[in-house]
Structure formats: structure tokens, C-alpha cells
């Protein structure tokens, strides 16, 4: 009995000492193991995790964190506004309704499209931005129309960027906007002139270069060609819409050669070769123009050529179209093939414009005026560039890199009668067009880049110019004379001199005599 009592007393003693050990506060964290295990087991009892033994380390860490947080709870964190809160404030405004004009709004024509309906059909096709996001974009478009007093607008699509994305809206061009742009350009030009003058006055006049760059292709007038529509972008629905500047042919030509992601900041400088004339806003506008020209399609018959009274007999170009009131929908089966779709935006020519401009004609006139005596042979007049005509069917779109330009599909294989026909562009990945009955729509959601095949090869810089024309004698290369030749020449010259001196001596002697 005694032995057993001693044993149990010893055990009790060791238990007590272990407990005392466990209750000693750790000098660093001022907690002890005993309390920690108590809290841990209480947490397990409260939460009942079914695999507690596997995640016991995590639970232990959580307990430690909460315990230390509670101790330090005297100071509260300054509540900083997160980006989500700022955005929510802005988007709250989208949902506000003006109280006065309710009845008037219902009577007005719908200037903005029914984006909900568009979103519904696009979802059938497997394209879209999510329902709530489409709803927010819808409200943002309404805000755009009201704030800018536009005649009509359309959701063009979304261009993704590395830091943020752009939501793009297309609007009809209004007459008065041209003056604003011209003023902005004139101001910029005046500033440049002032800077140039200031530099000249400061320094000695530097030699001027005789290089004359080729004449710039003129921009198309607003409302025609590549500048037919005006585009507004915003980063998120709720942010203010920014108007993009109109596009110039030089920008389109360079945009065709470079391959760059968008960053999401409109004032970002594009560093590329060939150097892009403009910042990201111009690049964005140029890509939008190219994508529109390449992928905006409609069912055949929806648009028809507007018949204008003939301006000149030479111009066969038809560059305007209008909605055909007699259009009746085409059944879905036929819409799934390429021949029932047509382009309704003009193609952008090699020059960078939709209508061709003869640049050589201008220079030809100048040289004729200045010097009629010099009749240089003028180079052959450049042939007018011709592209696919307006309302050409998609079946004429050529293949790129052995890949057909369009893939067509029907949204539903199980319920044919109510399906939507979809065309997906392979040239510009991200461009979609759907048609269902009388309704159709185009949208672009993508990175804003063309399909580059296996690899993009950047344009090579031009060869360096020659400093001198090669057929001038002063820099013609020749071999230096070798040593023997030089010595022979020297001996010959010495002989000649010796002979001459003899002759002179003889003459002198004769004279003396």
C-alpha cells in the first residue's frame, strides 16, 4: 500500500511540477503553455472541426494571433478608404435617378442601346462580361448620353490592359466638335513655333538639314471614313468618360507595325520602333479604328448603300450606308454561314485612310510651277489603292496564316429554333457578332491586338544612308604603290632632275662664255 501511495504521490508530484512548468510565463510573449492549450481546446470544442488533428498547427497559430491582438487592442487602426470603397461611392451615382424628369424620359426616344438585351444574347453565345457588370455599363452609357448630350451611342466593347482596362463606347459625331479639336491643334502648333524661335535666338544659327520628310497623309474629316464615329472610354463604369482624339493615317500605319499591350493609362508613352506618333490614347483610337474596319459586320440586307447623286463619274466608291427599313430577319441556319454577313464599316486602305488621296499630285504641281525647264521624268503616278467595298460579304475575307478569318457557330445545338448565330473573328481574337431574327450586334472584348500567326517579327530599321555618292573620284579606292614602284619612280625623277641640271649648267656656261 505504501509503495503504491508513494508511486501515486510521486506521479502527482511530477504532474504538479509539469503543470507549474506549463504555467511559467514565457519571457517574450508573456503567455504560458497552459493557458494556450486551454484556449486551443476551447476553440476546438466551440468549432468542432472534423479533422482537428490534421490542422492543429493552424488552429494553434490562430489562437496565438487572436490572443496577442486582444492584448493590443487599445489603439485602433485609422480606417483607410480602400479602392473598393472609393469605387462604390462613384458607382452609387450611377443608380441615382433624377426625380423631376421621369415622365419626360419615358417619352424621349431611346438614345442608348438596350445593353441588357445585348448582354442576354451574348451570354447565349458564350461571350460577355457578367450580368452585373453589363448592368453597370448600361447605366454608365446612360450617364454618358446625358452628360455629353449625344445623339446616340453604342457599347463598342472592352479592351483589356495590363494595369486596368478600357470600356469603349461609340457615339455619333456631332458637328460642333470639330472646332474644339482644331483649336487644340492650333494651340499646340503655336507653342512649338515659340519654342523653336526661342532656341534660334539663343544659339548661333546651326546648319539646317536638307532632308524633307515625305508629305504627311492628311487626316480624314470628322464624320467620314476612319473618323466616322467618336469614341469615349472609361476605366470602370462610374468613372468619368474621356473622349478619344480623332485618328490620323500616320497613326494607323504605325499601329499596323507595332505589337504592344495597353497599360490602362491614357497618357502612357508608347516606346516602340517605328516610333508611334502619339501616346496611348492615340494608339487606342488607332486600334479601335482598325478593329471596327475589320470586324464590324451585319446580316446581309440590314444596311443598304445610300444612293447619292453622282458627284464625279470617276468615283465609284460607295462610302455611306443606311438602315434598310425593309429588312426581314434571316433564319438562323443561314446566318451560320459566311455569305449572309457583310461588312458595314469601310475598309482602311494601305495609306491609313478609307478614301484614297493622291499625294504625288501635289508635289507634281509644285515642281511644275517652280521649274518648267527641268523636265524630270516623274515617277509613275501611284495607282489608287483599292480595298474591299462596303457591304462585301465575309466569305471574301482572305485567310491569314492559313487560318480562316471567321469561325461561325450556333449557340445551342439542342434547341435550334431559338438559337443565336455567332461569328467569331480569328483575325482579331475577341471580336464577336451575333444575329437572332432581326436583331444583331457586334462587340469586341479582348486585348486589342491582331492575330500575329506564329510570331510577330518587328520591322527592321532601314539601312544606314551613304555619306558620299560612290562614284566620286576623290574617295575612289586604289592600291598604294609598293616600295619597288616608288623607288623606280624616285630614280626616274632623279634622272630627270640630273638631266635638267646638266642642261642648266651647260646653259650657264654658255652664258658666261
Amino acid at each position: 500500500m505504501d509503495a503504491k501511495q508513494d508511486e501515486s504521490a510521486a506521479k502527482l508530484q511530477s504532474v504538479r511540477s509539469l503543470k507549474a512548468l506549463m504555467m511559467t510565463n514565457s519571457p517574450q510573449s508573456n503567455t504560458n503553455l497552459y493557458d494556450h492549450l486551454t484556449l486551443l481546446l476551447m476553440k476546438v470544442m466551440d468549432e468542432h472541426p472534423h479533422d482537428a488533428v490534421d490542422v492543429i498547427e493552424d488552429i494553434s497559430q490562430d489562437v496565438k494571433l487572436t490572443f496577442s491582438e486582444e492584448k493590443q487592442n487599445f489603439l485602433r487602426d485609422f480606417p483607410s478608404t480602400t479602392a473598393a470603397e472609393l469605387l462604390a461611392e462613384k458607382q452609387r451615382l450611377l443608380f441615382s435617378r433624377p426625380e423631376e424628369d421621369e415622365q419626360e424620359e419615358q417619352l424621349m426616344e431611346t438614345l442608348y442601346p438596350n445593353v441588357r438585351e445585348v448582354g442576354f444574347y451574348l451570354e447565349q453565345a458564350g461571350v460577355g462580361l457578367g450580368r452585373e457588370e453589363m448592368q453597370r455599363i448600361f447605366l454608365a452609357l446612360k450617364q454618358l448620353v446625358e452628360s455629353q448630350a449625344l445623339l446616340g451611342c453604342r457599347l463598342w466593347g472592352k479592351i483589356l490592359g495590363t494595369e486596368s482596362s478600357y470600356i469603349v463606347a461609340e457615339a455619333q459625331y456631332i458637328e460642333g466638335e470639330e472646332e474644339e479639336e482644331k483649336n487644340a491643334e492650333e494651340v499646340a502648333e503655336k507653342e512649338e513655333e515659340r519654342e523653336a524661335q526661342a532656341k534660334e535666338n539663343e544659339m548661333y544659327p546651326l546648319p539646317q538639314s536638307t532632308y524633307k520628310p515625305p508629305p504627311a497623309v492628311p487626316k480624314e474629316a470628322l464624320g467620314t471614313g476612319a473618323n466616322k464615329f467618336v469614341y469615349y472610354v472609361c476605366k470602370e463604369p462610374g468613372h468619368s468618360w474621356v473622349k478619344l482624339p480623332s485618328v490620323s493615317p500616320a497613326q494607323i500605319t504605325v499601329a499596323r507595325l507595332i505589337y504592344k499591350f495597353f497599360t490602362g493609362r491614357l497618357d502612357h508613352q508608347i516606346v516602340s520602333y517605328p516610333p508611334f506618333p502619339g501616346n496611348e490614347a492615340n494608339y487606342l483610337r488607332a486600334q479601335i479604328a482598325r478593329i471596327s474596319a475589320g470586324t464590324q459586320v451585319s446580316p446581309k440586307g440590314f444596311f443598304r448603300i445610300r444612293e447619292e447623286e453622282g458627284d464625279e463619274e470617276d468615283e465609284v466608291v460607295q462610302d455611306s450606308s443606311e438602315v434598310n427599313p425593309d429588312f426581314e430577319g434571316i433564319p438562323v441556319f443561314e446566318m451560320a454561314s459566311l455569305s449572309t454577313w457583310v461588312h458595314h464599316i469601310q475598309y482602311i486602305l494601305q495609306q491609313g485612310r478609307c478614301t484614297w488621296v493622291n499625294l504625288a499630285g501635289k508635289t507634281g504641281e509644285d515642281s511644275n510651277e517652280e521649274g518648267e525647264a527641268e523636265e524630270k521624268e516623274e515617277p509613275d503616278e501611284p495607282e489608287p489603292e483599292v480595298g474591299p467595298r462596303l457591304l462585301d460579304p465575309l466569305s471574301k475575307d482572305s485567310e491569314m496564316f492559313n487560318v480562316p478569318s471567321w469561325s461561325s457557330m450556333v449557340s445551342s445545338t439542342l434547341t435550334f429554333q431559338h438559337a443565336v448565330a455567332v461569328q467569331r473573328s480569328n483575325r482579331w481574337p475577341g471580336a464577336y457578332a451575333y444575329a437572332c431574327g432581326k436583331k444583331f450586334e457586334n462587340i469586341y472584348v479582348g486585348w486589342g491586338l491582331k492575330y500575329a500567326g506564329e510570331g510577330y517579327s518587328p520591322p527592321v530599321p532601314p539601312l544606314p544612308q551613304k555619306e558620299y555618292a560612290s562614284d566620286r573620284k576623290e574617295i575612289a579606292e586604289a592600291l598604294d604603290p609598293s616600295l619597288e614602284e616608288e623607288q623606280e619612280l624616285k630614280e626616274a625623277l632623279d634622272e630627270q632632275r640630273a638631266v635638267q641640271e646638266e642642261m642648266e649648267d651647260i646653259d650657264d656656261e654658255d652664258d658666261e662664255d
Partner: protein, 275 residues
Amino acid sequence: MDSRWLLCSLDLVAGNGCTVSLEHRAALQTSMVLLKKNYKFHRVLLWGKVLGLNKDYFIAQGRGDDELVDKKNLYSFDCVDWFLLPSATESMIQEVSVVAKRRFVGDPSYVYEHVEMSGGQDGAVDSPVVAKVSEESRLAVTVHQIDEEASVVPRGAFVKSPRGLVHVNRSFAGLSDSQAKKLDNFFHFRKAKNPNKKSVLEIGDLSPAIDFLDTLSDDVPKGSWSHQCECAGNVCVLRSLLWLGLTFYHLPMTPQHGYIYMGDGTRNLNLPFML
């Protein structure tokens, strides 16, 4: 993207422009449950969609005991009938990278051919070596490559048990807002290659059960991930610029995360020009 969260999370990744139509969504809900039962997977994920010229492939992935190793991929055209893809071996990867360069066609039996004229050194022209690869194996290799190079999971979502098995961390409560802004807190879900050996100081902060994968910030080139907050700023979205179409989403402070690939299945080799 886990099949249980399919309904609510497809809207979150839709910023890319690609969603799944309603008919396919309904079909997926049914067929994924059946897949899980038939193949005895622990979890079934909708891996994504590979767009072909004629038809699109839907890819699903089933995970077994060890999430990192037990993966099986299946493909389907209509989200109802699924076919098993072969697992990608080294030789398959080699062949595919030589032969298949263009877009996917949409027909699994399509054969890509690559003719190499192997001129003999003696001057005798040997018979041309024709390498053939079927689109099915190309698809398997592409899915494997995308998983290797562009899969993303947040830090803490997966735990490595002492026996070496990787499984889902049940007590993962999500990254906080500030943590979700740093690319360090996102890992590639593949066998760790450890490109940058970390200093002892940094290793002290890490826990071996959680930090056994490579972080995204070690990816070359820098800037090959686009990090944004979408859906009214609530969702943290990562998009890969190397494989255009891969989107990863995570709702901070919740355990919801996932990635999905919706694209044409080609690596973006022009990335250095584009940044």
C-alpha cells in the same frame, strides 16, 4: 474552378469576355456530378475552354488524393459526354512543340504533320522524316503546359502534410486586402522549381507546410501577370500575359478562389515585344 462554385464564380472571371452559355452551364452541373461518381475523383474542376477553329473543347480536371500529382483531364464538346485525355509525357511534349504551331482545329482526330528533309551528310537525300501528332495529344500537352506555367493558387490554400501529400487547407480564410495586392502571395500549382534561393531571413517567415510552391513574382519576364481588382473592386483578378486567356480570381477574406483558361491554346511568344 471548382464545380461546386461554378454558378457564382463564372461571373467573376467574365472580365475576359469569355463566359459559358446557360445551356452549357446547366449541362456542366449535371455531368460533373456524374464524372465525380464514375471516376471516383475527390473534386472535379472546370479547367476551361480551348477555342478551336471549328469547335471548342471544354476541359475538366479531376483531382484525387494528392492534388498536385493525381490529376486527370477530360475533354468534351457539349459538356455532356466527356473523353479522357492521355497524360502528357516528355516525348509527347517534345513532338508537339515541334509540329503543332497554329490554332487548334476542333477535331480531335486531326493529325498535324511536320516534314523534315533530313539531308544525309554523304549527299544522299534520306527519306523525309514525317512527325505526326494528333490533336488529342496536342490538347493534352497544352493543358499540361498551361498548368505548369500559369496555374495560380493563393498562399495558404493548399497544405502539404508531413507525408508529402498536398491537400486543400480547410482553415484557409482567404488573403486580406493588403495581402491580395502583392504578387508574392500567389503560387504556381506545380512541382516547385525554386528559381530563387531565398535568404535565411526570408525563410524564417515562411512555413514549410504552406510555402512549398513557387511564387508568381519569380516569373520571367517580370510583368507577365496583370493584377487588377474587378467587379466593383471586390474581386482580385490575375491574368496571365504569357498564356492569354488564363484568368485567376480570388475574393479577399473568403476562401473562394479558382482559375480558368479560355483561349486558343497557344503560348504568347511575342510577350517580350508587347510589354
